[in-house]
Structures are given as C-alpha cells and as structure tokens.
C-alpha cells in the first residue's frame, strides 16, 4: 500500500468530509438501532443452528419467525419466545419446533421474570455456537492464508462466474483461478435480492447467475480450498449480502467462510427500491457479522456511474464512499475490510478522459489510504466494438495499477455483448497480466504535479463532495422541517434519499419493498447475536 500520497488534499477538508459523513450517518444508526426486521431475526435463528426448508422450499426460519410474529410479535426479538417454548418442552429442538409452528400446533407466549431470563440464557448459548463457528472459520482462513499465501501482486485479480448451475460454476471457477484469478465472485440469480427468503440446497436453475444458498457456498468454498492448495495461493470467494435477506446471507457467508461480500449502504434502496429503514437495519447487522467473520466488504459506488455521468456525478461516488466508511466502521469493520467501490466509466470520447479517471482514482486512494479499494471496469462505454473495448480495458488496468487499487474486477471486451466466452476471459487475463508486468512499478515514477490537471481535479471533486454532504446534513433537515413534511421526522440523510439526491431516485422512508418486515423494538428486546457481536463475547 502507498508510502506517501501521490496527491495532496487539504487536511481540513478531509476532516470536514469525515465529520459531515458522521453527522449524516449517526441519526440513521440511532434510528436503525431502535428497529429490528424479519431478516435480522431469521439470521439470528440461523446462527442458533436452524437450517433446512419444507418440501416447497420455504425455509424453517421463515416459518418460525412468521409464527412468532403472528402470535406474540417480534418487538421483543424472536429468540425469547422461541427458547421459552423449547424450555416448556413444546418441542425437543429448534427444527421440530419450526415444523410444528408451520402447522400451527405451537403456542408462543412472552415469558416474564425468571422464565424470560432462562429463555434468554438458552438463546444466547445456542446463538453463541454459530458465532464460534464464524470465529473458527476466520481462524481457518488466516491459517490457510499463512499456508498458501496471498496473491503476489496488488491489485488482486477478481473474476466473475455466473452459469446458474453450481455444478458448472465450480469447474469454471477453478479454471479461472488456475488462469490467474485471485478472487472468484459468483453472481446471484436475477431477482434473488427481492426474495424474502434464502433458497435451500445446491441449485442448478439460476437465471443469469446462481442462487446464493448455504450449500452452494459450502460447495464452492471446498472446491476453491482444493484449488488454493494446487495453485499455492489462497483463492478468495465472493458473494452478495444485499437485498431483502442481507443479514441471513451475511450469517451464511460467515458460517461457510466466504471471504468478500458485496454490501453497499444504499444500493438496495436506490436500485432495487427496498425500504430505506429495512436496508439500514439489515445492513448494520450484516456488517457486524462481516466484521466478526473477517470478511472484506465491497461497496457499490460503480452503480452511480452507470446511471449518471461519471464526470458530473464523480462527487456522489466520494460521498457514498464516505458514508459507507462511516456505517462500516460504526458496525465494527476495520480499514482493511473496506473494499470501497469506484469505476472507470468516463466517456472515452471526452478530452483528457484518462487523466480524469486517474484523478478520481487517486482521490479515492488518498482519502482512504488503508482500504483495499475495489476498481470496476468500463461497462457504459463498451459499445460492441470488442477491439476498442479491449483497449479501454487495458487503460482501465493501467489506471488500476498506477493508482494502487486493491481489488481489480477484470473487464471483458464482450461486456454488454454476450456472456463472456472462454477466450474472452483468457484474453482479459492476458491484458491484466501484461499491464501489471509491464507497468506494475510505474507508480514509483508517477508524480502528478501539484497544480496539474489530475491534482486540481481531485481537489475539486472533494470540494463538491463536502458541499453535497453539507447540503444533506443541514439544508435537508431544515427544509424538511420548514415544509412540515412527514419525512422531517426522519434523519436528514433519509430525507435526502427521499428527495432523489442519489442516483436520481426518490426513495421515501415509508415506502419500498420489505417495509412490512420492519418492527419497532420494545424495551425488553433481546437479540443474543447482536450482544455477542457488539461485545465480542464467545459464550
């Protein structure tokens, strides 16, 4: 990682940016801690060991949470009434209880006094088993990295597989690793983010991607462990903790030793129309798990640039990175776990486009010196002219190595044309290897002058980002209050999201998918997973 920054930013402005991001984020965190969601409760049951689904594929965690919610509500957390029922011998174990609850043959009650304390102790003991599994998986990863080693170079080379069938994905992923990939991402089936349950078992019928399931995670991790031994470096596995089941997927990722998870603070809200409060509650829980599991998160700032102009909207990327950083650190993630996203999406037809790309990439690098930034390839200006696309990807790779990016998603010249051919992937890896071998050390000789185009542009984008954060934290709150609007009661950041500040989408906090799964916590709310995650305890 960088020894001395290549560009100089005003230290006061950098401090202001972080202060404003905290100011925007804090009220949202306060709001998020007063609520729980069906998915947080289901994730907690998964940590307590409840797995499996009925013959129609409806997971038992869904049955159990729905039954408790219908009978006594979730305001006190799902675990207290569930473990109270087990103590009352309503069923011998969680899975039998869930099965019985599905046929409506269990009566849940909210225990009080000693009975409540006993239920909560039992719940904590059960959930702690899952947390310790996550701890063990983290230790295993660290051991395997010591044994096999990290990639020899940075950026790490990140490749996507997406066949829809886990049995096809596995040989493709192994082949990609042998061909030089350091990180394998398995894209999820289209539409999984909007499913309010996690599918079960090994799956073979995904559409434009493969379902994220616990069994698919386990199979792919085992296959890549084999390949890590073979190629002599630890191959990391990536999936998506996003959508309506973000906390559950995070828990499964921790249990099955995934290494990176896509997890953005606002992506689901803006691009999937998921309710903002649901998203922030789910996200905090999932990030607490990622922190514990030693998982590197990848944020989704590249998406802003696919809908907005990459020059005009450059500062919204910076603002989102700052917010992602705040929310991530609040949830306990360390700098090395923040794969903050950004992308090479400036229109190549505009003059100096490459210099501007370098400026934006260096701004991110300088602002987050210890984060393994995730560098995303061009998609918007890939036209179907695959030859020109190959050149553009070469420049993308050059910008990646020249500006010290941490994770490089390999661009395909057939982007937006076809699902990459075997040969496209091979050519893409040759492109990356050529650039890294030829220019990997160029960074040493690269010193953009203080008042040149690159440094000036980087400072201008930071100034715009600070301005936007100021508008969000001050104007937005005031304007909302003056207009006496319903969302004046919400934190300013939520009001800004409702107003269409990001990605041009208006997403009010009282609308969107998954809102009916949000529940206000009562004073007696208990969630042993949150307690264990926040205190670091193992029992």
């Amino acid at each position: 990682m960088p020894s001395s920054p290549l560009i100089h930013l005003d230290a006061g402005q950098v401090r202001a940016a972080r202060r404003l991001a905290r100011q925007a984020g804090e009220p949202v965190v306060r709001l998020a801690t007063t609520q729980t969601t069906v998915s947080v409760e289901r994730a907690t049951l998964r940590l307590a060991g409840l797995r499996g689904a009925d013959h129609e594929g409806q997971p038992w965690v869904n049955h159990l949470v729905d039954a408790v919610r219908a009978q006594v509500g979730l305001q006190d957390g799902v675990t207290t009434p569930v473990f109270d029922a087990l103590r009352r011998r309503a069923a011998p174990d969680l899975i039998t209880l869930a099965q019985a609850s599905a046929s409506d043959s269990v009566t849940f009650t909210m225990p009080e006094g000693k009975a409540a304390q006993a239920a909560q102790r039992a719940a904590r003991a059960a959930v702690a088993v899952g947390i310790r599994t996550i701890d063990r998986q983290r230790a295993t990863r660290e051991r395997l990295i010591r044994r096999h080693g990290d990639p020899a170079q940075t950026p790490w080379i990140y490749l996507i597989v997406a066949t829809g069938d886990i049995d096809e994905d596995i040989p493709q992923a192994q082949a990609a690793a042998r061909a030089g990939a350091d990180v394998i991402a398995v894209i999820r089936s289209t539409g999984q983010s909007l499913l309010d349950y996690v599918p079960e078992g090994a799956t073979h019928e995904g559409f434009a991607g493969t379902y994220a399931t616990q069994e698919n995670f386990r199979l792919m991790r085992a296959a890549l462990d084999e390949t890590s031994r073979e190629v002599g470096r630890y191959i990391r596995l990536t999936n998506y903790a996003s959508g309506l089941c973000m906390p559950e997927i995070a828990a499964l990722a921790g249990l099955e030793r995934l290494d990176m998870m896509l997890n953005d603070s606002m992506y689901g809200i803006l691009f999937r129309d998921i309710n903002p409060i649901r998203t922030f509650v789910d996200q905090r829980f999932s990030r607490q798990i990622h922190a514990r599991a030693g998982i590197i998160i990848n944020t989704g700032e590249d998406n802003y640039l696919t809908t907005a102009d990459a020059v005009e909207a450059a500062h919204t990327v910076t603002v989102s990175q700052l917010l992602n950083e705040y929310f991530a650190k609040e949830a306990g993630l360390a700098d090395w776990q923040l794969g903050l996203g950004h992308a090479f999406e400036i229109n190549p037809a505009i003059p100096d486009s490459f210099r501007l790309e370098l400026a934006h990439a260096l701004l991110a690098r300088t602002l987050f010196p210890d984060a393994p930034l995730k560098w995303m390839p061009p998609t918007k200006h890939m036209t179907g002219d695959v030859f020109r696309g190959y050149l553009l990807d070469g420049f993308f790779n050059l910008a990646g190595t020249l500006t010290g990016q941490g994770i490089l998603l390999v661009g395909m010249m057939t982007e937006a044309v076809v699902t990459p051919f075997l040969s496209d992937r091979d050519l893409a890896l040759q492109n990356v290897r050529y650039v890294l071998d030829a220019a990997g050390g160029l960074r040493e000789d690269f010193h953009p002058p203080r008042n040149g185009v690159i440094q000036t542009r980087a400072r201008a984008v930071l100034a715009e980002a600070v301005e936007l954060l100021e508008r969000i934290t001050t104007d937005q709150g005031r304007a909302g209050a003056e207009r006496g609007r319903a969302d004046a009661a919400y934190p300013p950041l939520l009001a800004a999201i409702a107003d269409g500040t990001f990605g041009l989408m208006k997403r009010p906090p009282d609308r969107g998918k998954g809102l009916d799964g949000v529940v206000l916590k009562a004073d007696g709310y208990d969630n042993p997973a949150t307690t264990l995650l926040e205190t670091g305890a193992t029992r």
């Binding site: 539409g191 909007l194 434009a208 075997l422 040969s423």
Partner: protein
C-alpha cells in the same frame, strides 16, 4: 446500420449489386475470425481450425494465431479470403419504423405533444418470475449503458414486477390511466409466453372500450419478429432491446405530432 445506409447511397451500377469483404484491395474477400476449439493445442487442433475455416468458405485460410487455454482448449485467429458473394438484391432488412431519440428529446416531445406525463405500466405476467427484461427497460439502472424509463422525467412508470395476474394487470393499468402496457416474458416452455400474451390482450380488449386500449408492448427473447398481429399486440421487442428504443417507440406511437410523423396504427 450506418454501413448499410452508406451502401444504399452508392450509385446502383449493376456491378455494385455484388459485394465481397474488403481487406486492402477491392474484391479480395479478406475476413478475420476467432474461435475456440475444445482440443489441446497441437498440430491436430490447427488442422481442425483450418478445416472449419474452409467449411465457412475461407479459402485460402491462414491460422495466424493458436494459443492454449488450459490443457483442453485452443484459441485461434484465422485470416482468409471468403469465397461467398453478397447479392444486395437478396438483402432484406426490417427498418425501424421510428426515429431513435435521446432521453432529452423524448421528454421534450412528450411535454410538447402530450402536455402531461406519459404513463407506462410494466409487468412480468403468469408464472414468469424473470423480471430481468422488464427491469432492464424500466429500472433507472437500465441496460447497455442506457437508463431505464424511470429516469425519464416525463414518464410515469409503474413496475408491477413478477408473476402478475392478468386481471390485476388490467386493473392496475386502468387505475394508473396507462398509456402503454409493457409486458416481458422470458420463460417459453410449451409456448407459455404466447398463451400468456394472448390471454392478456383478450383481457384488455374486454375491459376497455374499442379504440381506448392502451398501447400493448411485449418483449422477450423468443417472440417471433412480425407476429404482432397474431398476438394482438402493437409491438414486439426482442433480445438486446434498449430502453431508449422503447421510449422512442412510445413517443412515436402515442405522442401526437411527434417529429416521427406517422401516428399510431390501429392493430
């Protein structure tokens, strides 16, 4: 597209009706292809590549590059002269019947011509859960670097998502006063897409007075080009359709006095 136009603008001398690919000399027929064969990289694979090239009409063919991709595959680049002739008289193309507009132009024309927002209701109907098509067209994230219709300020977009029942779609379209209804169908087992669309068009004709039915547009990878009449829809869009094509078509079909002149045809 531009190339084709360019060709047509050339003087149509009798000799120009036949064309061959152009490498560096008129009539040389030179083309370049690349492909992968599932064979280890050796002499046999090179011979196989040459045979394939000849069968594709390349003669002489020259394998200029052969490279192993792992132990079981070989990637080839082949140059050669194609012995096929292109007869321009036998070339038939379906021209797009509307002009392609930028989002700005779309918004402007709706504002001027309609003087209100153009309302679009979209859904995947039947048991089809694949919203990828409808989302690509409607969601702001869009497709192929183009933003979806949600991004257009002058369009009101209601995306009902997946597995919408036909009666619900009709009811929602009526409630929203839809100008156009977009339906995407990806699943095509046992022609379920045809069945679903026919059912939908029938329901709309039943629910609306004649001539008031919203514009019915379907999209999916397996609809037959030109089968609009048979399905009772106004327009079919196939694989690779981008949001701006759909937006431009909607303006063409629905906005009076849009600069694309032709008005909506009754179907």
């Amino acid at each position: 597209m531009t190339n084709r136009k360019h060709l047509r603008e050339q003087p149509r001398a009798a000799a120009a009706q036949i064309v061959r690919p152009y490498g560096d000399t008129t009539g040389d027929g030179m083309i370049q292809v690349s492909f992968t064969l599932p064979l280890p990289c050796d002499k046999l694979a090179e011979g196989a590549a040459l045979q394939l090239a000849r069968k594709m009409g390349m003669d002489p063919a020259l394998v200029v590059h052969a490279k192993a991709i792992g132990p079981d595959f070989t990637f080839f680049v082949v140059y050669g002269s194609s012995n096929h002739l292109v007869d321009l008289d036998a070339v038939h193309v379906q021209e797009r019947e509307f002009a392609l507009l930028s989002p700005k132009e779309v918004n402007l024309q709706i504002k001027r011509g309609l003087r209100r927002r153009l309302v679009v209701v979209g859904a995947c109907i039947g048991t089809d859960a694949h919203t990828v098509g409808i989302d690509a067209i409607l969601n702001i994230k869009g497709f192929a670097g183009e933003k979806g219709l949600e991004y257009y300020a002058e369009m009101g977009v209601v995306n009902l998502g997946a597995q919408v029942l036909v009666p619900d779609l009709v009811a929602k379209a009526r409630a929203a006063k839809a100008d156009a209804v977009l339906v995407s169908q990806v699943v095509t087992q046992k022609d379920v897409h045809i069945h679903n669309v026919s059912q939908m068009t029938a329901a709309f004709r039943e629910a609306y007075p004649a001539g008031k039915v919203p514009l019915l547009v379907v999209g999916g990878p397996r609809f037959e080009e030109g089968s609009e009449q048979r399905l009772g829809v106004d327009r079919i869009f196939g694989r690779g359709t981008t949001p701006s094509e759909v937006a431009s078509y909607l303006v063409h079909a629905l906005v009076p006095d849009s600069h694309t002149t032709t008005r909506r045809k009754a179907s």
